[in-house]
């Protein structure tokens, strides 16, 4: 994880263009796409089925969504890397930028805001103004208290970051579906798994 010099470490594409333009290009011209509603409805079907299966024990539903997300994350990161060939991030700030401007863009075509950095720069928040997972969703009364409808996102981030050797905690702070003002996902970096960084990188 050594800091690499700016010129050589950036990918050819990103050194010439900004990360944003680069992601826009990948999304626009190089990514096979599918109807977003189908995505939303399929996810909705998964969540509602879980609620039924677990007899509306929403804590269990949250956990299950998280673990599904984790399983997705450990696979999804490979797709992300193959697609973008971005180099390893040398700081958490860079990581957050890649997550918001590139990862969310390339997969879901949204660009959430990053903010709320902790003073020691080890945690930040992702503000999902738009969330394709929860379009059209209104939670029933009982679910609104406990269910984190989009909890799968936390699992995905957790799994994906772990695969690039960053041990993080990811959780929902608030969700507009519960009546909050913002949808906020918190990411906290615990440590970098130095031992697991593949040999040959630095």
């Amino acid at each position: 994880m050594s800091a690499s010099t700016s010129g050589t470490s950036a990918p050819a594409a990103a050194s010439r263009k900004s990360l944003k333009a680069f992601s826009e290009d990948v999304w626009k011209n190089k990514t096979a796409k599918i109807n977003a509603e189908l995505f939303t409805l399929t996810y909705g079907s998964i969540v509602s089925q879980l609620c039924t299966d677990y007899e509306r024990d929403f804590t269990r539903v949250n956990n299950q969504l998280y673990s599904m997300g984790y399983n997705i994350g450990v696979r999804l990161i490979e797709d992300f890397l193959a697609r973008t060939a971005l180099p390893r991030c040398d700081s958490l700030a860079k990581t957050s930028e890649v997550i918001s401007k590139c990862a969310f863009k390339v997969f879901l075509n949204v660009t959430p805001q990053i903010g709320n950095w902790s003073s020691n720069k080890d945690s930040f928040s992702i503000f999902l103004e738009e969330n394709p997972l929860s379009d059209f969703v209104e939670l029933p009364m009982d679910a609104a208290r406990e269910l984190w409808y989009s909890n799968i996102v936390c699992g995905v981030l957790k799994g994906a970051l772990e695969m690039v050797q960053m041990d993080c905690d990811v959780w929902f702070v608030s969700d507009v579906l519960k009546g909050d003002q913002l949808t906020e996902v918190r990411v906290k970096l615990n440590r970098i798994l130095k031992d697991e960084i593949p040999a040959g990188e630095d």
Binding site: W27, T31, A32, K33, I34, N35, A36, E37, L38, F39, L41, T42, Y43, G44, S45, I46, S48, Q49, D53, M68, N71, I72, R75, L76, D79, R83, V106, F107, L108, N109, V110, E130, P132, D135, F136
Partner: protein
């Protein structure tokens, strides 16, 4: 308060939103089929909403512009906050992958996995029939009129409506037929935009007729549903030569299972569920199964077999 002077009636005019059931009136059509039925009452409806909500969702106006530019009515959402029309196939593939994996962990047999996938698809299917029917009723012109005027902003809307004279004019437009008066539709739509976006209904002149025969409803699945789901119609629709109640929808390369090497589990049962959900909610009870029929040209070819229940055949015989 001008609208009260124009319309002192105590009947329909008191109800700005024609949606929903009102026991004093009885059953009402939610979507106006005939422009006459909108009469004076609807004009006052627009007037009242225009005045009461002075600042109607300015935020939604911006987002709806890009919706209007969509290539086809099926491909985009009319939801005012639906910002993204598409997500990456990869994102969907991962979600699908995990759904299958989960069904697999929770099941003891292949049939059970397929049943679970089928159930997930069914959830979607029952929602699609009305949605897609509604969308195909929104024709392009009324749609763009709706969105264009709503982007023009709330200011213009309220300006038109707040004085009593234009509202009378609105009334006048409306008693004409729906056929020519594009301006009227636009004006109506503009006013309607104030009404939370629900009132797109006002710009729909005719709801698409329901599909009543097996062939019609299958055409609907073959073209509309398939286009909605996969961006193209299915490759073929065939009637079985052996059995009267059996039809086949052919897909040369099923999109959702494109990355999944064939196993003994048929992941396309999800799509079966969708189809069955659509047909069931249209009152065509049936069973849908999928079979992979690889040939040289299309190694991933899948055939969805629809078997209608005998009641459907009997009904159709009666109608004929």
């Amino acid at each position: 308060m001008s609208h009260k002077i124009i319309n002192p009636s105590t009947s329909v005019a008191q109800h700005p939103a024609p949606q929903g059931y009102d026991y004093t009136i009885g059953p009402q059509q939610t979507l106006p089929d005939l422009p006459q039925s909108m009469g004076p009452s609807s004009a006052s409806t627009f007037a009242s909403t225009g005045i009461s909500t002075t600042g109607p969702s300015a935020a939604s106006a911006a987002s709806s512009t890009n919706l209007a530019s969509g290539p086809s009515v099926y491909s985009s959402s009319l939801h005012p906050l639906a910002h993204t029309q598409q997500v990456s196939l990869a994102a969907y593939a991962f979600l699908f992958q995990e759904m299958v994996a989960q069904a697999r962990n929770a099941s003891k047999s292949v049939a059970e996995i397929e049943l679970r996938l089928h159930r997930h698809g069914y959830h979607l299917g029952v929602r699609l029939l009305e949605l897609l029917n509604f969308r195909s009723s929104v024709n392009a012109s009324s749609r763009s009129a709706f969105f264009k005027t709503s982007t023009a902003g709330p200011s213009s809307t309220s300006a038109t409506v707040s004085s009593s004279a234009p509202s009378a004019q609105l009334h006048g437009y409306h008693s004409h037929g729906s056929g020519d008066a594009a301006g009227a539709t636009a004006a109506a739509a503009a006013a309607a935009a104030a009404d939370d976006g629900h009132a797109l209904a006002h710009s729909i002149s005719h709801m698409k007729r329901r599909d009543l025969t097996m062939v019609e409803i299958l055409q609907f699945v073959h073209s509309t549903v398939w286009t909605y789901l996969f961006g193209r119609p299915s490759d073929d629709l065939v009637k079985s030569s052996d059995r009267d109640n059996e039809f086949m929808i052919v897909d040369h390369a099923p999109l959702l299972t494109r990355f999944i090497s064939s196993t003994n589990v048929q992941c396309d049962f999800f799509v079966c569920g969708v189809v069955e959900g659509v047909l069931d909610s249209a009152c065509f009870p049936c069973a849908v199964t999928v079979h992979s029929v690889p040939d040289d040209k299309f190694p991933e070819k899948a055939v969805f077999v629809v078997r209608f229940e005998s009641a459907v055949l009997e009904r159709e015989a009666l109608r004929a």
